[in-house]
Amino acid sequence: MNLINRALNKIIRGTEWYDRYWDSVPKFWSLRTFDIEIVNLGSNAGKYDFCYEGCKLTGMNWSTGRQSLVHDFNILKNYFSYLKEGAFVVITISPFSCIKAKYTTRSNLKYYTFLHPATIIGFDEQERIKALTIKANPFKAMPGLCIKRTLKEYARQILPRRKPAKCDFQKEARTIVDNWWMRQFGITDLDAPLSANHSQDQSDRAKTLHGMVEFCVERGLRPVIVIPPVHPELSHLLSGTFRENYIYTFIRKAETAPAPFIDYMDDTRFQKDEYFQNPYFMNKQGATAFTNQLIIDLTK
């Protein structure tokens, strides 16, 4: 690799788009922190709702965006050596954590860069080579994309920023329920009982969750099951019947007894608009406030 190529790769690795390209997994590539006292797993809700900056415990966000409970478990299996004995392992539960989602080859690519091959779902050697090639030399592997995105990022930094439009939480909440969740999971009525397929998914995922809790306890870690806050406009759309069918039944099925279950979905301390980037995900301010409160609740 010549010097120019190395320099370009260094620039690329420092950009935000490159971190987003890998769904924030570069944090695992150079992990040197031991004795971590709290980590959270979880899908995008885990990624956006936890921030450990300025917290009294050494924490790390182990969510890498879109990931199922099985992926959560695999990350935990690969990285628990970095945790302090007695560390909190926050297992983030989202409204649809119990349903199996489809994962594309692209969304699976990141796992090849930081997980042991034995723990990669649907392992494919060609995909592994592809992922490691991009990781080792991003500029050589995808020069067009690197130039385009890096220039775009620099341009955004130089040009005056437009003020982001204010989020219409009510409208966005409807979109999340109708266009993200109901369409993705093929659900027509949120309050109806689970279909046979979804019920089977729920049982399978409950076994995974049970296994995660057992795994933590066996290794002297403290598992905690947490539902993070959502904006009130979204929580209003998730009825008691829905929560019972999709969330609480799931957690009961998993028999997670040694792990406390804390539900912050309707917590009035986290309902301010300023805490959210959209009705489902918190922003940095919200995530920091929530994470601090969670740590207080866990350590009192």
Partner: protein, 190 residues
Amino acid sequence: MKVENSLRQLQTDYLDALLMHWPYPDFFQEIWHEMEAVYNEGLVRSIGVCNCRQRHFEKLRQTCAILPMINQFETSPINSKPELAEYCRQNDIQVMIYSPLMNLRLQSRPQYHDLLQHLAGKYSKTKAQIVLRFDVQRGMIPIPKSTHRERLESNIGIFDFTLSEEEMRQLLACNENRQYMPESRSCPGL
């Protein structure tokens, strides 16, 4: 198990020790049973494991006839694993240390390197020799690897001095649970 192949290649009729590299979560008890059989055949003089924690031994204890005689893992003053070391001592499991000098490459607290520097000066030894001597005085067997003659000599030259109890305590107090090779990355879920 192809122990016979190893014996042939090494041109010997027995091995001093046969170790299981990783306690693979789904197989380690099965592998151990095979190792017990090899031991009972007299092909090896001792059998052991690597990277095992107390819970692994307790699992083995439920089903095995022979408890491992050796446990090889990474430990150093900055990663002293006191409970595991004590467990091994109480159960007559000899501790072997792999990568015993890699801790010197880690960015640890300056107090650790200052202490090593001080002890190295006091005993006219290198920092590496102080670490190896510390291991030996803990009753453990460090296995440093080197292909350089002078380093091999240096690694052996640790038997002409003794760290005091206070110095051992000071070194043990440097523990920060930092290790060169976090086990779960090589053997997920171990």
